[in-house]
Amino acid sequence: MKEVNIHVEHLTRVEGHGNIILNARNGKVEKVMWEVSEAPRLFEAFVRGKPYHQLARITSRICGICSIGHTLASLKATEAAMGIEISAQSQLLRRLAIHGENMQSHILHLGYLVSPDLFGVGSVIPLVKTHPDAVLSIVKLHRVANEYSDAICGRTTHPTNLVPGGLHKSPSPVKLRKCREMLLDSVDTANAVAELLLDNAGALPDFSRETEFIALTSEEEYALYDGLIGSTDAGTYPAEAYESVVNEFVVPHSTAKYCKNKRESFMVGALARFNLNHKHLSPMAAKWAERFGLKAVCHNPFMNNVAQLVEFVHSIEDSIAIIDRLLEDYKDEPRPRITPKAGRGIGIVDVPRGILFHDYTYDENGICVKANCVIPTNQNHNNIQHDFEAFAPTLLGRPEKEIELNLEMLVRAYDPCISCSTHFLKVEWKR
């Protein structure tokens, strides 16, 4: 059988720079590798020596997509370190913030980055001609998500309204009612987009590899903002144990660290959250999961796309419910006053791409002396590699272009945010 040599340098329609390498001879895979070539980011070093109230502002810049998630994880870490309690109303408003970001990110990924694969075209641009209504619906949903985030967080990205101890300013009830109306209005559009994706979901390959799933989990809700670290293999862990869950390690071909827990690798993201929290999905989201045949525990990484769609619907429904709860007894809370304290705190939030950890240590003046951020895509790199090793051999009989597309689709299904995941690596030169 002929040789197969695939080298996709800088995979498109993902955030950041990653490469795919596949070499096969006589029907045997000799090398298959997922390489992360993005430059290191150095954020953990930037924040050392900075005062506590600047940390969320700085770490928010790790990502332009998950800036709300990074802000929330950062604030939770700071609040945990200084023993700051936040009001029930602020907790609910922050849940709205994370829903807004989840909607922004999921519709961007599904609508602009994944749908071209389902329709068999190279990008979203040709779809404007063939499926104008669908593209307009996607843009509309994206706009709703942006405006919703803007109303709660003060900006669509890099939020200014979220501060240690709560919110800088509570959004007015008028704004909240407007958001509710907008979200209610988007339900039909979301259903129409879901219907269309369902019609084309056959393009998602049927591939499963058993793995461990890790996400926030809670007894009360579909955990995004708060909960314990949950694993499909090992139950739950407290926040303090996060380092022994992610077990970061370094590999030579990647500027991002790799992770593993109970098995050789684990997966985080919408599918992991679905697998652990599916009981708490809103009714309409649960209905869509059923229609797509998404059942826990699902081991097909391509179904992460479907889980994102299900979560999008859940975020709309849950947001409306939270706004209703808020409006029952809504107060204009003043900006919290904070006295800095020495200590260490860990903040965990489940952001669009998976579970995110921020861990800060402060001195008695509230100056950061140590920081560690573990980004979801980091935790997925190793699982992508192991998926490659299992998936590539099953593809070898097909034309090279098709193999390439399938491997690209696999990476894309993880919705990787590669540039966020890179860290500084100590380089050891061998001469």
Binding site: K50, R57, G154, R155, H158, T160
Partner: protein, 220 residues
């Protein structure tokens, strides 16, 4: 046929314009209205390609995109007169510009913002765009806002919504502008270190200049 640009001789042909010869030999002459994809399109409207004719033609400033070559023509692209005129033209263009893009932190590929940098046309502070600058200024309400010393072009997004400026577009690097901006802090009760700490969040170069200006001004 030969012409002399900045004291160097260049061979050329009848019918060419001075700009064509300069471009062919990598002599830098800025243009905005000239379209290299359509050689015929040269409205000579932006006036940025001005050169000074020193000899062999009508003396004075002329647009090089429309100035025909003639044997022995001697021009300068770097004289004081050329610099001053180009700078003024750039400033005039900017005054008509829809948005103040001088402080754009991302661009580097925009010919116009490059011109502004080359001709040392400085940015404006966030205060210039802030609707609270006359009434309800955050500084006067005791909130540490570094808008007076940071570059604008954000339409004062944060201060407009009651949130203090954190200087995403960095602290200004021009000493005069910083001195002017620092006057806004005179009435507010902030320690020098507090202002520097706030300024440091997204800036490096500007903070060094700020520190220097604060020392000169005797800021405490």
């Amino acid at each position: 046929m030969k012409i002399i640009i900045d004291d160097k001789e260049y061979a050329c042909r009848e019918g060419q314009k001075v700009l064509d010869v300069a471009r062919a030999h990598d002599v830098d002459i800025p243009t905005l209205c000239f379209n290299p994809l359509n050689e015929a399109m040269r409205p000579a409207g932006c006036r940025l390609c001005l050169v000074e004719v020193l000899d062999g033609g009508r003396p004075g400033l002329q647009s090089s995109c429309s100035l025909p070559v003639s044997d022995g023509l001697k021009v300068s692209t770097k004289s004081r007169a050329v610099y001053d005129e180009r700078r003024e033209v750039t400033e005039l263009l900017l005054s008509e510009h829809e948005q103040d893009c001088r402080n754009c932190p991302i661009s580097g590929e925009c010919a116009f913002s490059e011109l502004c940098r080359d001709y040392d046309i400085n940015g404006v502070s966030v205060c210039a765009e802030c609707p609270n600058r006359k009434e309800g200024c955050l500084l006067s309400r005791g909130v540490l806002c570094i808008g007076p010393i940071t570059y604008a072009n954000c339409d004062a997004f944060c201060t407009r919504r009651g949130y203090p400026c954190e200087g995403c577009h960095s602290v200004m690097v021009n000493e005069d502008l910083l001195r002017f901006g620092l006057a806004a802090f005179a009435k507010a009760d902030f320690h020098k270190e507090e202002i520097l700490e706030a300024a440091r969040i997204f800036s490096y170069e500007g903070v060094k200049v700020l520190d220097k200006v604060m020392k000169q001004e005797g800021f405490k």
